[in-house]
Structure formats: C-alpha cells, structure tokens
Symmetry: C2
Subunit: 172 residues, 2 copies
C-alpha cells in the first residue's frame, strides 16, 4: 500500500507501474497480481485503506439549503475536474464494477458516508421548507450522487447549469 | 466479435475465456489483447457493435407519466436483476471508466439514446402538468439514469420503494 501510494504520487494513475510498485515493496509482480486482479483493484484498495485520502464530505449548514447544496456539488465537480482525481475515482468505479467485494467495501467505507451526510442535510432542509417535502430524501441523495458519477463516466464534466438543474429538481 | 458473442452465450461473462475466443476466431491470444486491453473492453465492443443486443428504450406514452415512468424504471430494474445482464452492463461500465474512447462511444451509441427518449417523455409530461415544471428535464433524466446505475455499482438492486422515491422527486 505504501509503495502504491508513493508510485501514485510520483507517476499518477495513468502511468502507474506495477513493476515499480513490486520492486519498491520488495515483492515480485506475480505476488502483486495474486492479491489484486488488476491495477484498478490495487488502487481501489489503496483508497479504501486510507493511504490515498478520499474526499471528505463536508456539507455546510448555513440555513440556506440551495446555497449549501450548490457549494457541495460544485466542490465535487471541481474535485472531479482534476485529471488525477478523476482517474482515481474512475479506477474505483471500474474496480467496483468488476468485483462484488470491492463494490461492497467501496460502498460501506466511502459512498455510504457521503450519502448519509447528504440525506441529513436534505432532511434539515425539508423541515425548513427549502427542499421538496413528501419525497424520500435518501432517493434524492442517490439521484444527486448518481448524476455526478454518471457525468464522470460519460466524460461530460458537470457544468454550473447542470448543477442548477439538479437543484431545481430537489429544492422548493 | 462473433466468437465473443458465441462465447458469451455459451459461458456467460464471468467464465468467458479469451483463449476460447481466440481459438474460435483463429487468432492468437496476443492478437486479441493487441486490439482490446481487457475482457471488459472486448465485451463492451461487442455490445457497442450490436453483436449482443442492448436493451431498447421504449417508454410508453399512455397519458399518465407516473405510470409510464414507473413501468420503464421497473423494466430497467428487472433487466439489471438478471445476473448475466448485470455482468454485461458492469463490464461496459468498467470499460467506460477505464477508457476515454469506450466512454465516448458508449455514450454516443447507447446512453444518449436512452437519455433523449426519457427527456422527451418528461417534456410531454411537463406540458400536461404531470412532471414538475421549471426544471431541466435533461438534468432529471440524467439523475434517474444515474441513480439506477449507481444502484448497480453498489450492488443494491432498485426496489419498488426506491423507484417510487425517484418518481416522487420528478412528478407533480
């Protein structure tokens, strides 16, 4: 994990070399592949184990839900606009798509936390009449996160206009 | 492509063998890997080229948007509930996550069509006052598709309750 972290920092995801990681860790390449089926799985493990910091979800509560949600979604979009971050999140996505085990761990240690924070912020906004009532805030938060990941997958960075469209959908 | 289609039909995605595909195609394994970097890319190509039929988006227009959208989302969920379909779509997702080129082709030949059909159905519903007005229907449709793909990625099949939550979010 330390060797992978260092190689990620030095070479970036696209040029990451399993050979260099194996050498730095004093192991053979085959040993690496015995534990991780692909470069994606190795990188996902590194993120899941906290060696590469994943973005922490901090959603402000200023009292104005639309502003707070917009700021959070824009920060998410800005994070994904960095090519290296986009590569890491795409690697996690690919690893989760390929492996049930990675998917479950990815969900439990990263996504569920973001989802819960977003749902809590939406709940508080519903109480103040700022987000549409009578709708599952959990479904809303999955729709917001899903829309952002979808944009990452299809290589269409979320614009401010797109983010405002999402906000119109949930805000009252 | 024909050899991949036949091998998919015979063995399914999880047990798909590049060796058997190469043999059936009269080529070497290395030749296959020269063209497709991974099993996911090979399978994605097969779907993109129409050798394995992708689900056709037919969204009814009965005049009742909520019923039509629910039927479409449930059919999507039922499709993904088949393990072989889920494997194929996850393979496409992984291939799109890994490759810019696959991502763009995947979007242009498959996803954009679904998105356009869904947006058109939402537009007609807005005109009848059945879907929330003043919101970008394009953003809504990406949120609905994104939410379903997100559920596939985190291995939580969309329940009827989840689908109703999504419908509450967009319907008036």
């Amino acid at each position: 994990m330390e060797a992978t972290r260092d190689e990620l920092a030095a070479s970036g995801y696209d040029k990451l070399s399993i050979d260099r990681i194996a050498t730095a860790a004093g192991a053979g390449k085959q040993t690496v592949y015995r534990w991780y089926r692909s470069k994606n799985e190795l990188v996902a493990e590194c993120i899941l184990e906290g060696y590469v910091p994943a973005r922490t979800a901090v959603i402000a509560d200023s009292g104005e839900a639309r502003d707070d949600l917009r700021a959070w979604l824009r920060a998410f979009a800005d994070f994904l606009a960095e090519p290296e971050n986009a590569s890491l999140i795409r690697a996690c996505t690919a690893a989760a798509a390929e492996s049930d085990e990675v998917a479950v761990r990815f969900y439990e240690s990263l996504t569920a936390t973001n989802e819960a924070a977003l749902t809590a912020r939406l709940d508080s906004a519903v109480r103040r009449g700022q987000v549409r009532a009578g709708t599952s805030t959990a479904a809303m938060s999955e729709a917001l996160i899903g829309a952002m990941l979808y944009r990452l997958l299809v290589r269409q960075p979320p614009t401010d206009e797109f983010i405002d469209g999402l906000l119109d959908m949930v805000c009252d």
